[in-house]
């Protein structure tokens, strides 16, 4: 249990390839921070810098009150869960869990106690004598978790630990990891490219793009007030619709956009803020042609095209409406549901 303090961390590879720039994050003791971003955004590199698997070329990294820039991974008091689990294929589950403790010269009885305790907690007690290849994907995932647990480290580092599981197991392990982390109150840094995983697991999430931080905040903050167009497009599925303000003005009464700053030339609308019910007071409405209706069980996605705007707009409804593809629909939304952005800087302007 410890805080992790990243102060203007950066990583430049030989040949001036820059992977991470100017990242400062203070992780509180017991907090779970999720790093999220598309592939190549530097999130894994950042995690590996914290782990000590990549050298830090700029800034300082503190775990607890020690600066650990120069320390080997084993000396940083962290444990890591790898994307492909990285279990030692020739060792039994017991030895996989025990290997890190053996290397640290723990007593045999202590090793045995810790391994059994972790196995108990993760319900892999009956697999201790098996080899990893005899386990299912979910069980391997638990063993990888267990290898991190037995060490009782100051912080857990997770590198997309769920990406090799199927959808159902992913939901289940997501909940288990989160509950375990809350119970143990261990500081955790979690990397994922999946925005749903990020929203549901994080105390705070950090959206990365091109090696830089786009936004840090709680899931609700990030979702309801995305700081940049990148975050707006990345967090939320289906993604936020982006409409040019100039085009919107031609479609709407003048006062509809009056409350937005003049700099706002790009307007974001979340698909679930659009509705088929008639516009009430303070709401605005738009007409569009329905191109495709996608039913999705409890909800449905409507793909619409508006006159004079060449991209599709997606609306998400909590039911499957009785509408016909090819017809024109009127959509309504609240004025407060408009997210104003400056397209030049990509920043939110209000």
């Amino acid at each position: 249990m410890a805080t992790i303090t990243m102060d203007t961390l950066g990583k430049v590879y030989t040949g001036d390839v820059r992977a991470v720039s100017d990242v400062s994050i203070d992780i509180a003791d017991g907090e779970m921070i999720v790093l999220v971003g598309p592939s190549g955004c530097g999130k894994s590199t950042l995690l590996r810098m914290v782990a000590g698997l990549e050298t830090i070329t700029e800034g300082t990294l503190q775990i607890g009150d020690r600066v650990v820039n120069q320390l080997e991974p084993a000396e940083r008091d962290i444990a890591m869960v790898f994307q492909n689990y990285a279990l030692y294929p020739h060792m039994t589950v017991f030895n996989n869990l025990a290997y890190g403790l053996k290397n640290r010269s723990f007593k045999r009885a202590e090793i045995d106690r810790r391994v059994r305790e972790a196995a108990e907690m993760l319900e892999i007690g009956k697999f201790l004598d098996r080899k990893p290849r005899q386990l299912s994907g979910g069980q391997r995932q638990r063993v990888a978790m267990g290898r991190a647990l037995v060490r009782e480290p100051a912080a857990f580092l997770f590198d997309e630990p769920l990406s090799n599981l199927d959808a159902k197991l992913r939901v289940q392990m997501r909940v288990e990891i989160r509950q375990l982390q809350k119970r143990l109150r261990t500081t955790a840094l979690y990397v994922t490219h999946d925005q749903l995983e990020a929203l549901t697991m994080a105390d705070r999430l950090v959206v990365l793009n091109g090696g830089r931080i786009e936004q840090i905040g709680t899931p609700m903050e990030v979702y309801s007030r995305p700081a940049t167009t990148f975050v707006a497009g990345f967090i939320g599925s289906p993604a936020m619709n982006m409409l040019p303000a100039a085009w919107l003005r031609t479609k709407l009464p003048a006062e509809a956009l009056a409350h937005l700053p003049v700099k706002a030339d790009l307007i974001g609308i979340r698909p679930e803020d659009l509705s088929l019910s008639p516009a009430r007071d303070g709401q605005i409405s738009l007409d569009g042609t329905l191109l495709l209706l996608e039913p999705a069980g409890a909800e449905s996605h409507l793909h619409l095209r508006f006159d004079g705007h060449d991209a599709m707009v997606i609306a998400r409804l909590p039911h499957v409406p009785q509408v016909t593809e090819g017809h024109t629909l009127t959509l309504s939304l609240a004025r407060e549901a408009l997210h104003p952005f400056d397209s030049a800087s990509g920043q939110r302007v209000a």
Binding site: P73, A74, A79, M80, N84, Y88, G100, N103
Partner: protein, 282 residues
């Protein structure tokens, strides 16, 4: 996989039957020939069925050898070949697995340079090295010794390459997990990499043993004392050594005996070996 394809099937069978015939027929002839009395070959006929003299021929080569051609009994030569082959095999495996480990897992100056030097030696004809190497061995007084027989044959670019290719397929995360688990490079090598390489080591053991066993030119240069003659040299001497026509029945018996140790090594290592070669089953 293609199934139900008649002419493809036929073609496949033809190609394979041709290949098998080229390879297997001579082996069959050799075994048959080793069971015939001396007279059979003088007539210039190649027999295709076993003869009655198997026991006599084999006892002769094992215990007596052919003194006229200066060939000692086969038993001693087999032992020499065995010692030489084992020394070469173990030496080659140790050197090359360490070199491959260094090349794959360490980032150091001149890494690429070393890589290319090893690579080029793979390409150099043995003959380019053999004569000067002889000079060196002679100067060091290692003629007629097991050290002289084996040490110069130990450097192996091929095995280094094969181990390198295998290490490349080991996920890098294993090394990283070991680092996080507090294992240094040598501990990683010993605890993780070596156990994982066991099938590859077995496969290379077999190949290297056969390579060592079959060495011909080098033992010929380096040994003058019959006490250090190897079995392959023995065969060559029996064929070309004497003034008379070679005694084909004895030659063939020796040849068949010479084939046994490699086959035994294969059988002994079979399970591991096959696993090592065919691991990537489709």
């Amino acid at each position: 996989m293609v199934d139900n394809n008649r002419w493809g099937n036929l073609l496949a069978h033809l190609v394979l039957i041709a290949g098998v015939t080229i390879v297997v027929f001579p082996v069959y002839v050799a075994i048959i020939a080793s069971t015939h009395p001396p007279g059979t070959f003088v007539r210039g006929v190649m027999p295709l069925l076993p003869g009655p003299n198997a026991w006599d021929n084999y006892m002769t080569v094992i215990s007596e050898g052919r003194s006229r051609a200066g060939t000692p009994p086969v038993a001693g030569m087999m032992w020499n070949s065995f010692v030489m082959a084992m020394a070469i095999t173990i030496g080659k495996l140790s050197i090359s697995i360490l070199s491959a480990f260094a090349i794959v897992y360490f980032r150091f100056r001149f890494r690429i340079f070393f890589f290319w030097v090893i690579f080029l030696t793979l390409m150099l004809p043995v003959e380019v090295r053999i004569v000067p190497t002889f000079q060196v061995v002679a100067d060091l007084g290692m003629l007629n010794s097991f050290a002289g027989l084996s040490i110069p044959l130990i450097a192996s670019a091929t095995a280094t390459f094969l181990f390198r290719q295998f290490f490349m397929t080991v996920p890098e995360e294993l090394m990283e997990a070991a680092r996080v688990d507090g294992a240094g490079p040598m501990k990683f090598f010993k605890d993780i990499l070596l156990p994982l390489s066991i099938t590859n080591i077995a496969a290379l053991f077999v190949i290297m043993f056969i390579y060592g066993w079959n060495q011909y030119l080098w033992p010929l240069l380096i040994t003058t004392d019959p006490e250090y003659f190897t079995i392959v040299m023995g065969i060559q001497r029996m064929v070309t050594g004497g003034d008379s026509e070679p005694l084909w029945h004895l030659v063939m018996a020796t040849v068949t005996l010479a084939a046994l140790p490699p086959i035994l090594v294969i059988l002994f290592m079979q399970r591991l070996f096959v696993k090592g070669l065919t691991e990537t089953e489709k």
